[in-house]
Symmetry: C2
Subunit: 216 residues, 2 copies
C-alpha cells in the first residue's frame, strides 16, 4: 500500500486540488476577492472540474472562499471588524488551550517553549519581523498542541487560516514586535510555572493587545 506513504504521489485529485488551492490562498497568491473560475483552476492544477468543485465546497465551509449560487466563488475578504470578532474567539479558545497545556506540559515541552522564546527575543533584537512572525505562529501552535484539546485545536486552525492577511500586516508594523514579545514571554513563563489561571490571563492580555492593534 504505497498510498499514504508519500503525499503527492498516491494523493487523489481532490485532495491535491484542495491542498494546492488552500496553499495558494494562504500564501496570498490569490488576491482578495479574486474570482475563482472552476475551469481556470482545473487547468492550472491539472485536475478536472469536479475535483475543483469539491475543493471549493470544502474551502467554503472553512471560511476561506465565498460561493454564491450560479455566480461562482471568490476569495473571502475578512474585514477588520470580522478579524476582531475572530480574534475574540481565538482569545477564549487559546485561553482554554493554554490553561490545559499548563496543567499537562512535560519538562521537555517547557524547554521547547523557552527555546522558542529565546529565538523570538533574538529575532526582535535583530529587527527581523518576518522571522518573528513565523516564530510567533509556531509558539501559538505548540501551546495548542500541548493542550491535547483536539476540538479547540481544530477550531483555532480554522480561525487562524482566515487571518493570514491581517497577520502579515500586523507583523510589519513598526514597534509591534517589541510589545508582542513581552506578552509572549509572559505566556511562556506562566506555563513554565504550571499556573493555569495566570496563563489564561496572559493569553487574554496578549490577544486583547492584538485586537487593539487591529483597530488602527
Amino acid at each position: 500500500m504505497p498510498n499514504q506513504a508519500r503525499p503527492g504521489t498516491g494523493e487523489q485529485a481532490r485532495q491535491l486540488a484542495l491542498g494546492q488551492l488552500r496553499e495558494a490562498i494562504l500564501r496570498g497568491e490569490m488576491a482578495p476577492a479574486q474570482r475563482l473560475v472552476e475551469n481556470e483552476l482545473a487547468e492550472q492544477f491539472g485536475v478536472t472540474r469536479a475535483s475543483i468543485r469539491a475543493a471549493l465546497i470544502e474551502l467554503e465551509s472553512q471560511g476561506l472562499v465565498e460561493r454564491i449560487r450560479n455566480r461562482g466563488s471568490r476569495v473571502r475578504v475578512v474585514t477588520v471588524e470580522e478579524a476582531v470578532a475572530i480574534t475574540e474567539c481565538r482569545l477564549v479558545l487559546e485561553g482554554l488551550c493554554a490553561a490545559k497545556a499548563a496543567a499537562a506540559v512535560t519538562d521537555a515541552q517547557v524547554t521547547e517553549l523557552e527555546d522558542l522564546g529565546t529565538a523570538m527575543r533574538k529575532a526582535v533584537a535583530d529587527g527581523e519581523p518576518l522571522t518573528y512572525s513565523e516564530l510567533n505562529h509556531e509558539l501559538h501552535a505548540r501551546i495548542r498542541e500541548f493542550s491535547g484539546q483536539a476540538t479547540a485545536v481544530e477550531l483555532l486552525e480554522r480561525l487562524n487560516a482566515q487571518l493570514v492577511r491581517h497577520r502579515f500586516q500586523l507583523a510589519l508594523r513598526p514597534g509591534r514586535p517589541q510589545q508582542s514579545l513581552n506578552e509572549h514571554l509572559a505566556m511562556i513563563e506562566t506555563i513554565a510555572a504550571r499556573d493555569p489561571q495566570a496563563v489564561e490571563a496572559a493569553v487574554r492580555a496578549h490577544l486583547t493587545s492584538v485586537i487593539e492593534a487591529l483597530r488602527d
Copy 2:
C-alpha cells in the same frame, strides 16, 4: 426571480440533499456509525450522486459525518470524551457571547429571556423534560443571537450539532432538569443586570455542571 423566495421549490439539488441529510442525522434517524452509501442516499432523496457527494463533503467538515478514502461515509459517533472537549469549547465561547450580550441587550430582549425562564420553570414543575430541553436550547440560542458575535455563533452551532445525541440522553436523566434550571435562571438574572463578568461566570458554572453530568 422566484428562486430564493420559497426554499424547497427553487432549491438546487445539492442544497436540498444537504438539508435533508443534515436534518435526518440531527433527528437521529440515521443510527450512529451507520454507513452512508452514496447510491442509496441519492435514490432516497431523489437527487444524483454528485449532489450527495457534495453534501457529504460539507457535512464532514461540519463534523457530522466521517469519510474515509475509498471506504465511504458514516455518521460520526461522538464519544463521551469528545463531548466533554466540545462542551469545554462551548463553555468559553458561550461565555464570550453571554458577556457581549449582557453589554448589548435591549429591554425587550431581556423580557424575552425572562419569559423563557418562566416557561422553563413551568416545564420542570410539570415534569416535562423534553419541553424543558427544547426551551433550554432556545435560551442558549437567543443569548448567542443577542451577542451579535457572528463568528462565535457559527462555531457554536457547529459544535452543538455534534452533541444532539448526548443532549437527548442528558435531558432524560432524572433530577438533571432541576439543577440545570437554577443555573439557567442565574444566567438570565445576570444578563438582566447587565453584568458581563457575572454572566460569564454563570455560563461557565452551568457548562461545568453539564460536563460533570456528561461524565457518569
